[in-house]
Amino acid sequence: MAKLDLTARPGTQEIVLTRVFDAPRDTVFKAFTDSKLIARWWGGSLYQTTIDTMDARPGGTWRFVQKGRDGREHGFHGVYHDVTSPERLIYTFEYEGLPEPGHVLLETVRFEALPSRKTKLTDLTVFQSVADRDGMLAAGMEEGATASMDELARLVERG
């Protein structure tokens, strides 16, 4: 299984994800912009995602709702800025569960064709501030977690 690479340099407002998929670029792009397909993977394995609205065109809005096993619902919404098949997708993203509105982020997803019908995905997310990027308003942060030395070394050496 391919590895997800996540970079979040300390003191910056960005997170960069890269991941290789074993499918042609057109197919991966379709999985990001077709409402029936995106509902089948977006949001991870713990939640069920329903598509409230999704108009994958410049200026189109989107809203997804996730329901956890406890029945609580979490809404996410934004607007598509650029939908250029099969190479680029740019949209705004806001999580409705934060203590206050307005912490919008800008996500740019690039799809690059690789040999052997594979695709490299690069997802750049820019937050409004370092504090937003570091999830200081996000619900559910656990106190007192301990980091392993490996995680520590990774975080400091990344920079």
Binding site: M1, G44, A147, V156
Partner: protein, 123 residues
Amino acid sequence: MRRSTRLNATFAALADPTRRAILAHLASGEASVTDLARPFAISQPAISKHLRVLERAGLISRRRDAQRRPCRIEAKPLAEASVWLEGYRRFWESSFQRLDAVLEELTAQEKRGSSRRRKRKRP
């Protein structure tokens, strides 16, 4: 110190490459100021200034051994900073694993579709 203030101090402390290198050194064990200064072409007072920033952020502690004052890394502030990012990483990791399965199905369908089209072309 409130958690948000502490996180701010952590990230401000980490925003400097020399301080990050100092922490990387301390990740493998305690060290004296002299040891820490050695790889850098900067003065001992400059290193001490970096150590004060790290100490104020709670990222290192310094023992009271009068001569050497050895420094030690403190994991908790870094752990707090990384917990949320780990949650973010897990969200995307599990989403992309599910996407792998969806893509496998789609590419299999595409292959079946194209082989059927090739068969139909035969007279």
